[in-house]
Symmetry: C2
Subunit: 190 residues, 2 copies
């Protein structure tokens, strides 16, 4: 991957997960990983993993990959991972997600009392303000935690506001142009 060769899609997905697995392994003090183990954890074969890593730098033939080393290689590829993300919906699910691993830059809810009562480390706005606020803040991603009846409308507003990625925790499927917007459906198992 010396030049700016575009990573295959499937590879990119695996590499992103791999990065977090390596983080975890390093935190546990583990020094090496084989392509075989990585393959198991990523749902791929060892061959595929080695291909994914092809060109990112030399490994240790005969030994195994050095965790810290491998991590450094991937960091170069992945670039900055944090995205400016907003939370839409401050019900019990939304509030629970607010504590989670996301770091939100703003929150929205349609109910005025929610906006006053919630104690969150980011500014809150009514959902009618989604478009102007997201445009001003240059928001890239959104987490949707609203009811089934509102999700589609809220999602459309987010798209209108230039959001490129939506993680949908609402119980309804979103009908968005998935050629332009990346949608992750979260509500159901299947």
């Amino acid at each position: 991957m010396t030049g700016g060769r575009p990573l295959p899609d499937a590879t990119r997905r695996r590499l992103e997960l791999m990065e977090r697995i390596l983080e975890d392994l390093e935190g546990q003090g583990r020094q090496r990983v084989t392509s075989r183990d990585l393959g198991r954890w990523l749902g791929a074969t060892a061959d595929t993993i080695r291909k994914d890593l092809a060109g990112t730098g030399p490994g240790n033939p005969g030994a195994a990959y050095e965790v810290a080393d491998l991590r450094r290689r991937l960091e170069l590829l992945s670039g900055p991972r944090d995205q400016r993300t907003v939370l839409v919906g401050l019900g019990s699910l939304g509030l629970a997600l607010a504590e989670g691993p996301f770091s939100f830059v703003a929150g929205f809810d349609g109910r005025p009392n929610r906006l006053e009562q919630a104690e969150l480390p980011f500014p809150l706005f009514p959902t009618t303000e989604i478009v102007p606020v997201c445009l001003r803040m240059v928001v890239e991603a959104a987490v949707l935690a609203v009811g089934a009846t509102e999700s589609q409308r809220m999602a459309e507003r987010l798209v209108q506001a230039g959001v490129r990625r939506v993680v949908n925790y609402s119980p309804a499927v979103l009908r968005l142009d998935r050629h332009r917007i990346e949608v992750w459906e979260r509500g159901y198992l299947v």
Copy 2:
């Protein structure tokens, strides 16, 4: 797809989403959909959609697919969708998910007071009981809503109990054999 021809993997994934989209469209009283629209909503081209549907039955060349009809076709393919699912972790996130679109057959938490206090429509057990309870109940899927430090251990217990699908809402990545277990990572955006 007349015989029991195995559906391509990519196709199956799209069909599952499509089924829920059709449900929604029918609920809104919409009568027809084109392969082009479905493609947009599913992140594929119209060609691909038509190929996915190839052999499931006749469409209406010149007109478009009839929503109700298409839905009936897919139901035959998909079979029963509900799975026996358990919820692990009864913190704020777990409790919020308990209200959500899942229908759980049991819940687990490591803290005895949580088991007493929570008012949920399914039986609760300490996490030490995961293996026997899940085996007895023939559980197929689990939703993990515990902290980063516990998730790996809980996941391993679930696997030991025969669970085949884990939806991970914890902030840590799971290291499981994804050849055998289907894992959905939910914690992070990427």
